[in-house]
């Protein structure tokens, strides 16, 4: 089973025969005990610490189809090493492009992503609304439901993005009611996030984005041709489209759970000029929580089998592919629990 590996410590990664060898190096430059990672067990590499590596390693990773995602000191996603495409399918590529080019086809898919995001947001809010009578989320829920109902009226992508923005704003406004005792939302701030909760959301969203990107890589979809977001520029924008649908379920739920269980506290953060960031130990805990979340399984209603949350992302790619091939209309993943 291939699993993502997260590298928090500084060190050197190298190829040793057909294995990866990681040698930690401490601040004084002294090498520690090397660790070996059999290549068959490595999914993607997530690099948070400072990593030394040479081209021989990247050639090896490329050959094995392993991506490397980099995060800087402030935990911002800075980029990925993506291996050569290995699942090219001309027909799929042409169909994906056609659906982007035709405004009417594009908006149809874009609307679905917003619907998916809104439905999963509502699922999260309703859960917290039911759980504790003291928290009143009904107003936010009603407003998001109204905004969701107006999605079919959006005639172009900018208008749709406007509705999506309002949904998000209402949603983030409700965060205080859920975790307000420990943290304060105080509006959504990015680049850099200004407080703890914003730092968590940004960090979680990046993890979700990279998980979507890796999944797309293992399908015939082109990650740069997107429908809701503008394609290509700076980001693999199809991964942004997909992550809209999964962020509430994969990231926000995890944030609420970890805060409410006091696994994350205000002392786990430090404020810097570059914004607010998670301290090392807390970041490790959060990444671990995210990884466990992806591995957790649910019984899929249409397939009749247990599937992991990570696999749900792949299934979303399949549904999109079927839509693009004209087999079945794409309907976004809707959490039912």
């Amino acid at each position: 089973m291939k699993q993502p590996k997260y590298l928090f410590n500084a060190g050197r990664m190298s190829r040793k025969d057909n294995t990866l060898k990681f040698t930690p190096v401490d601040e004084a430059g002294i090498e520690g005990q090397p660790r070996y990672l059999p290549i068959e067990q490595v999914g993607d590499l997530y690099v948070f610490g400072s990593l030394d590596a040479n081209s021989a390693l990247y050639n090896f990773l490329g050959q094995e189809g392993i991506a490397v995602h980099f995060f800087n000191y402030y935990e911002h996603y800075t980029g990925s090493f993506m291996p050569r495409e290995y699942l090219l399918a001309g027909k799929m590529q042409v169909d994906q492009t056609k659906h982007y080019m035709a405004a009417k086809k594009r908006i149809e898919i874009a609307r679905r992503f917003v619907e998916g995001a809104a439905n999963n947001i509502l699922r999260v809010l309703k859960y917290y609304d039911n759980r504790d009578k003291a928290k009143d989320l009904t107003e936010a829920i009603c407003l998001i439901e109204r905004l969701l109902a107006s999605v079919p009226m959006a005639v172009d992508v900018p208008m749709l993005m406007g509705i999506e923005g309002n949904i998000r704003q209402t949603y983030y406004g409700a965060f205080d009611a859920i975790v307000g005792q420990t943290f304060c939302m105080d509006g959504r701030s990015k680049r850099p996030p200004q407080n703890e909760l914003n730092a968590l959301i940004s960090f979680g969203n990046m993890l979700c984005y990279t998980a979507c990107l890796s999944t797309i890589y293992h399908t015939q979809l082109n990650p740069t041709i997107s429908f809701l977001h503008e394609p290509g520029a700076r980001r693999y924008s199809l991964a942004l489209d997909l992550s809209e649908v999964f962020k509430p379920i994969l990231v926000d739920r995890l944030i609420f759970r970890m805060i409410n269980k006091r696994q994350l506290q205000p002392s786990d953060f430090r404020s810097e000029v570059g914004g607010c960031v998670l301290k090392d130990a807390a970041r490790k805990r959060f990444v671990q929580g995210f990884d466990e979340q992806l591995k957790e399984t649910i019984k899929h209603r249409a397939l009749g089998r247990s599937v992991s949350y990570r696999h749900l992302v792949k299934l979303e790619c399949y549904k999109l592919q079927k839509h693009l091939l004209g087999l079945e209309e794409y309907r976004p993943f809707k959490a039912w629990w």
């Binding site: 699942l87 090219l88 399918a89 001309g90 027909k91 799929m92 293992h218 015939q220 899929h300 209603r301 249409a302 397939l303 696999h311 792949k314 299934l315 399949y318 549904k319 592919q321 079927k322 091939l325 004209g326 087999l327 079945e328 309907r331 976004p332 993943f333 809707k334 039912w336």
Partner: protein
């Protein structure tokens, strides 16, 4: 122009949708443990496989094990569940051989895990049948639209199962 290969003949006899998707390079085999198992079998089932077996390529189709002395095509399969499609695949290889001037070759289907083998022939009457498959495959693959799915019970172990059957269920 699509090259018709042994795998496509096999798929043609099982599922037209799989045939279309595979031929259009929309492939799922890299996700399937069953496919990986089949590959393992191919590589390790007969470590003593005689030197004289050759891998040959005829009209773009690959025959993994061909014995040019006894003129026997060997084809290895994991289980005999889809036997009719295995027979068709070997008959197609025999057809290719005949077209390339090799008369009187026979086929041998091998099921190492079941410890069984089965011989396959290509009679004069079979030739137009195989040619019909080839024409039909080209017609299906060149269609713009992907064919529909077949009855679910057959699909459980297919590497396209998740692709074909995933959908959102209304509440």
């Amino acid at each position: 122009m699509q090259t018709v290969t042994g795998s496509l003949i096999g798929m043609y006899h099982i599922c037209k949708r799989e045939l279309w998707l595979h031929a259009n390079h929309i492939r799922m085999e890299h996700n399937s443990e069953l496919v990986a198992e089949g590959k393992q079998l191919h590589e390790h089932a007969y470590p003593q496989r005689a030197e004289r077996y050759r891998e040959i390529i005829l009209d773009g189709s690959k025959i993994d094990f061909y014995d040019p002395y006894d003129k026997v095509v060997h084809e290895m399969k994991k289980s005999d569940k889809m036997e009719h499609s295995h027979v068709a695949q070997v008959q197609f290889y025999l057809y290719l051989l005949r077209k390339n001037g090799v008369e009187g070759a026979t086929g041998l289907l091998e099921y190492p895990k079941l410890r069984q083998t089965q011989t396959v022939q290509l009679t004069n009457d079979d030739v137009p049948v195989v040619e019909g498959w080839i024409r039909d495959i080209k017609r299906i693959v060149d269609r713009e639209q992907c064919p529909g799915r077949i009855a679910k019970s057959k699909c459980r172990s297919c590497s396209y199962f998740d692709f074909c059957y995933v959908e959102e269920i209304n509440e």
